[in-house]
Amino acid sequence: MVVRAAYTFALVLAVACGAPVHAAGTLNIYNWGNYTPPALIQKFEEQTGIRVTITEYDSNDTALARVRRGGHGFDIVVPSNSYLHFWIDQDLLMPLDRAVVRGLDNIDPRWRDVDFDPGRRYSVPWLWGTTGVIVDTSVWDGDIDTADIFLDPPEPLRGRINVIPQMSDVMHLAVRAAGGEPCTDDREVLQAVRAQLDRARHHWIAIDYGTIDGFVAGDIAAGVYWNGAALRVRLARDDFRFGYPQTGFPIWMDNAAVLADARNPEAAMKFIDFILEPEHAAMISNFARYANGIAGSERYLDEVMRDAPEIRVPDELADAGRFSVACPREVHALYMRIWTEVLR
């Protein structure tokens, strides 16, 4: 009730002062940590008069749990492709308003009609990337396009490997290295994966998100990492290279969508249309160092990103990339069990 009164008071005040900035209201974005460029937000605020707040999350599960609980007050969320169908099935998202979101044709044809959101009815690309391996080539300069970097590491890398704590990505890499399909429940494959991981984990020093600082300072010499993060590491110290395991690696895409219970759907739709502009998509890429899915954004990209090997998957390895998918519950439970054994 106090909140309500304060709100009314603020409203009265805003109207009385005729504050033009508040006329367009506020937009509450719920996005991954360190993923939204301040410059982009500033430009949007100046153009529209809408005030933007950003709240950050660190995993799809966190975002999902918080939004499902209700009362969150967010307008925009950025789920990964493997979770998106669940957001849609649960009616958590609002279909895009084509009258406002007119830039859908800017989406690169590759990302326009995707399995996880057929016809792009609910979401637009934010950024996409791959999960592979990163290696300090001053410590080891052999072949890095292999999952052996973390599954059966060469001697110099042992004890200096960090693996990101993302069960689905790590299992995707490990299962495909063992010759299985993503989300397989083939017990032979899984038993092999389990044994492999049990041997490998002794060579890992941490299972953490890893800081760029940790790589640069030499705490970590190799590991499982995201391509854009690997690019940031290379820019900080040139010894690092990103490898695409030829046995298979996951591709993911985070997608901006409007929440079904958004407080300010109009502002949210405006923002969705705003980030479909090639120039704005490039701002997001330049900030987070991942590729976006907007055609024509290339010419706005920073020099370091345009031909970066972390961003451009080499042609001969492109086929090894596969979209990450959310595994069925029983399979997920099996994978989780193997993963918990790794963490013990």
């Binding site: 999902l64 020093i205 941490a206 299972i207 519950r329």
Partner: protein, 297 residues
């Protein structure tokens, strides 16, 4: 209004808060632990004992008929109990002399020493833990100093080990040991020590038969205060253990996050609660004079 009525009235707000924020959620967790996990987190309203089963057991991947111990959970459970006990032990070893030192300072200066003990509380736990990270990392303070002094050639891997978790927890929880110990020691009658010395008791004997028994209530209270938060610690093992050396708190978080198995998370939380209750029972037995007298016949 009678005195009893007034007492209840004054207690009412505290009771109401406890019912809302402690008993209520606890009850929800208890119910969750007997349900089935929902798709992508949450629960399905179907009764199941699976969560409780998998706290300690697992089914063979090939033959679900074969039941085996859940090695991962047992290992994590063991690490939690063991690290919590070690933390308590380290805190006793470091806290006992500290508390005694403070208790034997002249009146008036004790407050200053106590005040110094509480200084770490001024800074957020997260910040302090990051600071420890900086100190013990491979190119951190300790390794750099040791290498420059020529003691070691290669940095010692301390960060991301059980040792790091132990150091972090002992540091964080030490004041919780010192304060109750001090409270008990301050009440020790100094004349008893003089009497012991007059009777030619050795220093060791004085410690064992005078100081230790009289400090016992503080020792027990401090141990409980350290052990309970240590066994449920989350931040310290997460940052200093490097995500590899999970403790119970981290395992529980995993189930509510990536694991998408809320019932298992709930059952594990209840298991943690049971461990804490056991610790409290031990505490009650240790301080209750009636029990002690019975024990000694």
């Amino acid at each position: 209004m009678t005195a009893a009525q007034r007492r209840w009235l004054l207690l009412a707000p505290a009771v109401a808060i406890l019912a809302c924020v402690a008993a209520g959620p606890l009850l929800v967790m208890l119910v969750y632990s007997f349900l089935e996990p929902g798709e992508f987190g949450g629960v399905r309203p179907a009764f199941s004992l699976d969560a409780w089963f998998s706290v300690l057991f697992a089914r063979d991947m090939f033959d679900p008929e074969i039941v085996e111990p859940n090695i991962a959970h047992l290992a994590i459970l063991w690490r939690s109990v063991s690290l919590a006990l070690q933390t308590t032990l380290v805190c006793i070893v470091l806290g006992f002399p500290t508390a005694w030192f403070i208790a034997t300072r002249p009146r008036g200066t004790r407050e200053l020493w106590l005040f110094l003990v509480t200084i770490p509380f001024w800074t957020n736990l997260l910040v302090r833990t990051f600071a420890i990270q900086e100190v013990i990392r491979n190119r951190g303070l300790v390794n750099t100093l040791l290498m420059q002094a020529g003691v070691i050639d290669e940095p010692i891997q301390m960060l991301y080990t059980d040792f790091a978790v132990l150091v972090g927890m002992a540091y964080v929880f030490l004041p919780l040991m010192v304060l109750p110990l001090y409270a008990a020691m301050e009440r020790v009658d100094r004349r008893l020590l003089e009497a012991a010395r007059d009777l030619y008791a050795s220093r060791w004997r004085m410690f064992r038969e005078v100081v230790l028994p009289l400090s016992r209530p503080g020792l027990v209270a401090g141990s409980v205060l350290v052990f309970i938060p240590a066994i449920g610690a989350w931040v310290t093992p997460r940052l200093l253990g490097g995500g590899r050396n999970l403790m119970l708190g981290n395992l529980i978080e995993l189930q509510f996050g990536q694991g998408r198995n809320w019932p298992l998370g709930a059952a594990l939380s209840m298991t943690l609660l049971a461990l804490v209750l056991v610790a409290l029972l031990v505490y009650l037995r240790a301080v209750d004079p009636d029990t002690r007298r019975r024990d000694h016949g």
